[in-house]
């Protein structure tokens, strides 16, 4: 008969460990003679994600405002100290943990789940807690003996650890190639590729691996079209084993000391779905829906930790504790309740518990009404509550600086202003707000239950028009990151926001004189399109019957054999209107310069809107004439249009603030880089010499403050922020995980220790002390800076310097300038 438990916990990361610790506590209280729970871990030890952090990494315990509620200890410290603490906890509490037990299937229902593991066991449990994180598991070799061991490794931290060995690297992706080349410094290396070419690798890696294979002086060999037939594990640690390869010409046995398999990871989604858990959205970062007590759509199956969308250790541990309490039927007050109380304390009408406020608010907002209450709670925790007061009362009410306190605003004052870079989303709970869709546009009234601010949320561009708090407002201001997460996992919210976005975008672009019902009907017939960078929206010479209203990104228009760029258009602007206002033949090719989204408006809808408001047609025609003049002038200056094409290729289509150097003026003094380092804690965020050049324009490697910054995507502590004036910067809550470094396509972020402060300028000038201004070529971090760990650093466009960007102000020749996207045309035409 299978073993059977009250609770099975899957995955011994921080979430699972904490849950197991709490379950162990219950066992002790009840005096159970055998554990009533089991913790199943796929890896050979606990907390794989944390074990894989780099050695000595400083682990942060963000968010600071949240208390830890767990029998397992956790405070900020080195990776080693934290792992020791957990090991200690596992030993002293006698946690019933089982290693090398990857769970491969969960079947059954509450009271009777049956859990299968890779080691062949079947375990039954009444409740299951799933805490497997989001890191996924590496694809294995798929032959007997392929479990991670000294002989078979699925990651490689330090290639220099191995010397004078024969090592077989399996895989053909970037990780495999990089490992193989690094290992080849000191070892004999075979790389095994299932196909006959390295087609998945980046160009640089592709060239490097081909060069290494062809270099006869190097002990570097490749097996193409080869699969793994089997393994011969070494008899003793350190001895050689062998790998059996099925090559195109037959079986081959290669003796080796080690096998490094880099076959990619299997994201956990498939496994999660195979257990019956629904993930409603196809988007990659969608998370399963759970209720107030972390239970998924499968009764008795709970989801916590990173897998449930909570990316920090402390949150994961708290949930581990809470979920065990819920399973035991205890109602515990969530740790974040004091935060909710703080948020609601300034509300005009007091209610006994924050939960009552939550359910009242949720019922007042149609779009959120059907959201699961836990997700709504999380939304409020991450949002600010804004309460409008009449001016006299506002002046009498003291402001509370606590970051969670209710925020008071003055009646009649703007919630946001035209041109401001903010991307948060506002929902009106009570009172009234007035809002425009353009700087000089008409005012629209927002009523309770409605929302606004979705334009910038979606396009990432500055606010168009202002919003003013009229009277007695209660507003929920939600950061973009949270809204994006919500939209990615909740189809209803996504569709609701999208619909209003479309209506308002059409209203703003065409100013139709139509009722809301008529607009809604039009919106139903408008198609949302998405384009990858470089993808064509329409082509020159085609017949078209629709125009595209850009909702995010930048689109270039190009023409002729050489496809010279003749114009660039960004969100809020229209391309392809000629087809509806003149001849249907497309005169240009429209291409997404960066990822872009458009609304495709066909003739009938267009005519309906245009005919409702005669002024509009005139305005559109004027706009079209201006565009035609522009494109015509660009088309007659091929040099300029090639330069614009170059800037777009460099990704400046999504830039809001880009550094462009004129090579004809730059004397290479690097004073810009030095200025950057000197004004930013000794580390330059600008690499002047690197980056591409064309026609004496040089785009160095530095942040361009993207409209929708890629780097902001998965920052666990939400350390990447955008200021109201548009600068993207990193706040001091960074935990140094490196996600942003990976996500920035422009290589503009690096992880660095903090260097020591330098001697003053004068002691360098007159006594030659220190290395002088600028980032030193290399430096040894002090123990203190080692302890606080590497942090992400990037350009913040000198938002804290009164005079603006130091790089530009330090350039003696005027070669360095910073530009907004609207200045690019001027830049190339001025040449």
């Amino acid at each position: 008969m299978a073993e059977s438990y009250h609770i099975a916990i899957i995955g011994a990361g921080p979430a699972g460990l904490s849950a197991a610790g709490r379950a162990a506590h219950h066992d002790k209280e009840s005096g159970a003679s055998n554990p009533t729970y089991v913790l199943l871990e796929g890896f050979s030890t606990f907390a794989k994600t944390i074990q894989k952090y780099q050695k000595g990494k400083h682990v942060m315990d963000t968010p600071g405002f949240l208390d830890l509620r767990s029998p397992v200890p956790f405070v900020a410290g080195t990776r080693e100290a934290i792992l020791d603490g957990w090991q200690n906890s596992i030993d002293t509490d006698g946690i019933n943990i089982r290693y090398n037990s990857e769970v491969t299937a969960i079947e059954g229902e509450r009271g009777n789940f049956s859990i299968k593991t890779s080691s062949g066991e079947t375990i039954s449990a009444e409740h299951v807690i799933m805490s497997i994180g989001t890191q996924g598991n590496p694809r294995t070799l798929g032959v007997p003996g392929d479990a991670e061991s000294d002989f078979v490794l699925y990651t490689l931290d330090d290639p220099e650890e191995f010397q004078k060995e024969t090592i077989v690297v399996v895989g053909a992706g970037d990780a495999a190639i990089e490992n193989a080349i690094a290992l080849a410094e000191y070892n004999k290396v075979y790389i095994v590729n299932r196909r006959n070419e390295f087609s998945r690798a980046k160009d640089g890696n592709l060239n490097a691996v081909l060069a290494a294979i062809n270099d006869k002086s190097r002990d570097f060999h490749c097996f193409y079209e080869t699969n793994i037939g089997g393994l011969e594990l070494p008899d003793a640690p350190g001895a050689a084993g062998a790998i059996i390869l099925n090559t195109a010409t037959g079986e081959e046995r290669v003796e080796c000391h080690r096998i490094i398999a880099r076959l990619g990871t299997l994201p956990p989604r498939k496994f999660v779905e195979s257990c019956g858990i629904e993930i409603s959205s196809p988007s990659a970062d969608a998370v399963p829906d759970v209720d107030n007590e972390y239970m998924s759509n499968v009764p008795g199956l709970y989801v916590i930790g990173a897998l449930g969308g909570y990316p920090l250790i402390k949150q994961a541990m708290n949930q581990g504790y809470d979920v065990v309490e819920y399973i035991h039927g205890n109602h515990v007050e969530p740790v974040d309740t004091p935060i909710l109380k703080k948020k609601f304390q300034g509300l005009p009408i007091k209610m006994p518990t924050p939960e009552e406020v939550l359910s009242l608010y949720q019922s007042k907002i149609p779009m959120f009404r059907r959201m699961n209450p836990l997700a709504f709670r999380e939304l409020i925790i991450e949002s600010r509550i804004l309460v409008g007061l009449e001016p006299g009362e506002f002046d009498r009410t003291p402001a509370d600086d606590d970051e969670h306190a209710t925020v008071f605003i003055k009646d009649g004052e703007p919630v946001y202003q035209h041109g401001e870079y903010s991307t948060s989303f506002y929902t009106l709970v009570e009172g009234e707000v007035r809002m425009q869709l353009d700087e000089d546009g008409a005012w629209h009234d927002i009523k309770p239950g409605q929302f606004f601010g979705e334009m910038s949320l979606i396009s990432g561009r500055p606010r168009q028009g202002s919003a003013i708090a009229e009277r007695d407002c209660i507003l929920i201001e939600t950061p973009r990151r949270i809204m994006v997460k919500l939209m990615n996992s909740n189809e209803e919210v996504r569709a609701g926001i999208d619909r209003v976005f479309i209506i308002r975008a059409l209203q703003s672009a065409f100013k139709p004189n139509l009722s809301l019902a008529e607009m809604a009907e039009i919106a139903d017939n408008v198609e949302s399109c998405q384009f990858k960078p470089g993808e064509a929206i329409f082509r020159e010479g085609e017949e078209g019957d629709a125009l595209h209203l850009i909702r995010s990104g930048t689109v270039t228009l190009s023409r002729g054999k050489e496809q010279l760029v003749v114009a660039k258009r960004h969100s809020g602007e229209i391309v392809g209107q000629m087809a509806l206002m003149g001849s249907p033949m497309r005169r240009d090719t429209a291409t997404a310069a960066v990822r872009a989204e458009t609304l495709k408006v066909r003739r009938p809808e267009f005519l309906k809107m245009a005919n409702s408001q005669p002024d509009t047609v005139e305005k559109l025609q004027d706009g079209l004439s201006t565009l035609l003049r522009q494109t015509n002038s660009m088309a007659s200056q091929p040099e300029s249009s090639r330069a614009i094409g170059f800037l777009m290729d460099q990704g400046l289509g999504e830039a809001t603030n880009a550094l462009v150097i004129d090579e004809a003026l730059c004397v290479g003094c690097d004073n810009c880089e030095k200025a950057c380092a000197e004004t930013h804690g000794g580390i330059s965020r600008l690499r002047r010499e690197e980056g591409a050049s064309f026609a004496s324009l040089h785009v160095p490697i530095v942040c361009r403050h993207c409209e929708l910054p890629h780097c902001m995507k998965d920052c666990p502590p939400d350390a990447l922020r955008r200021s109201p004036t548009g600068e993207v910067f990193i706040s001091d809550t960074c935990i140094g995980c490196g996600n942003c470094e990976t996500n920035c396509p422009y290589d503009a972020i690096k992880l660095s220790y903090q260097p020591k402060p330098k001697p003053s300028l004068f002691s360098w000038l007159f006594f030659g002390r220190g290395s002088g201004p600028g980032e030193p070529d290399s430096f040894t971090p002090t123990d203190a800076s080692k302890n606080s760990g590497k942090k992400a650093v990037k350009c913040d466009a000198c938002m804290n310097l009164a005079g603006g960007p130091a790089c530009v102000r330090a350039c003696p020749t005027g070669a360095a300038v910073r530009l907004g996207p609207e200045q690019f045309i001027e830049l190339v035409e001025a040449r």
Binding site: G668, L765, A802, A806
Partner: protein
């Protein structure tokens, strides 16, 4: 959008410098009515010109500090540099009129000469600042230096591979040509873009300027090749060395431009220091012997 330091703010400092020079001339001329005292540094006009000149020199020297005060809001470095070059040239007028071209073998003239040297090096520096960047960018031919370096590495790898297929003599020679390649080097080598590449032959180490010695050797051997494959390898080597020659020249030019853009400052700044010392002595001496 990009504006050179000369045309900065529509030549604002050119006009200011012209005004300063004009005013100095007017002031100088007002001395000529006085027959008792011919124009010199001792008249009130002379003193005025001298004070303006000394202050100008001090201010011009401050550029070295302002350039490194990175959070300073006192103008941008470009506006300082623009003012620096125009007012620096105007200083020549101011100072010459101040001393009324009375020269001798003394500390006063030393200060004047040093000043002229600083200004001279400055004008040369301005010239290179204005001309070399464009030449340098053109030299890169639309790529960055790293990519040229990388191509050089690839060419060398190709040469090493091909050298495996030729006879031992030639192989030794070819490999030595790679080893004895020199880029950069001392100041002179950099500034004059000297090619000091060498190659080891049977009769000792000889110059391989422009990779010529090797290319010559290869071209001599090709007609003698006995098998097709050998000829092919030699031809391949020759093509690779031809490319190598082009890349090396380009990189050498790049090094030269970089050196020229910097070297003048190694005169301009120390001479400034010397000038400040001489100027101080000049002023003290004038007041002591008054």
């Amino acid at each position: 959008m990009h504006e050179s330091l000369l045309s900065w703010q529509r030549f604002r400092y050119l006009y200011i410098a012209l005004a300063l020079a004009g005013a100095s001339i007017v002031l100088y001329i007002t001395q000529s009515g006085n027959t008792a005292q011919p124009p010199n540094g001792g008249t009130w006009q002379g003193y005025t010109l001298g004070t303006v000149g000394a202050l100008l020199i001090l201010w011009l020297s401050l550029l070295g500090i302002r350039k490194r005060q990175y959070s300073s809001n006192v103008g941008s470095v470009q506006s300082w540099a623009s003012a620096h070059v125009y007012l620096g040239i105007a200083l020549l007028v101011v100072a010459t009129l101040h001393c009324a071209a009375q020269f001798g073998w003394n500390v006063h003239t030393l200060a004047y000469v040093l000043m002229c040297l600083v200004i001279g090096t400055g004008i040369y520096g301005l010239y290179v600042y204005l001309h070399l960047p464009r030449a340098m960018a053109r030299n890169h031919a639309g790529r960055d230096v790293n990519s040229w370096m990388k191509e050089l590495g690839d060419v060398d790898d190709g040469i090493r591979d091909a050298a495996g297929n030729v006879d031992a003599d030639l192989q030794a020679m070819v490999l030595s040509a790679l080893d004895l390649t020199r880029l950069g080097g001392g100041v002179f080598a950099q500034i004059f873009a000297q090619d000091r590449c060498r190659v080891q032959t049977g009769s000792g180490v000889i110059s391989n300027q422009g990779q010529q010695a090797l290319i010559d050797e290869l071209s001599r051997r090709i007609p003698d090749a006995r098998v097709v494959r050998e000829a092919e390898t030699l031809n391949e080597l020759m093509a690779l060395f031809g490319r190598r020659q082009v890349i090396l020249n380009l990189l050498r030019k790049d090094v030269q431009y970089r050196a020229l853009l910097k070297i003048w400052l190694y005169f301009h700044v120390p001479l400034t220091m010397a000038l400040l010392v001489a100027l101080t002595i000049h002023i003290i001496v004038v007041f002591l012997y008054w």
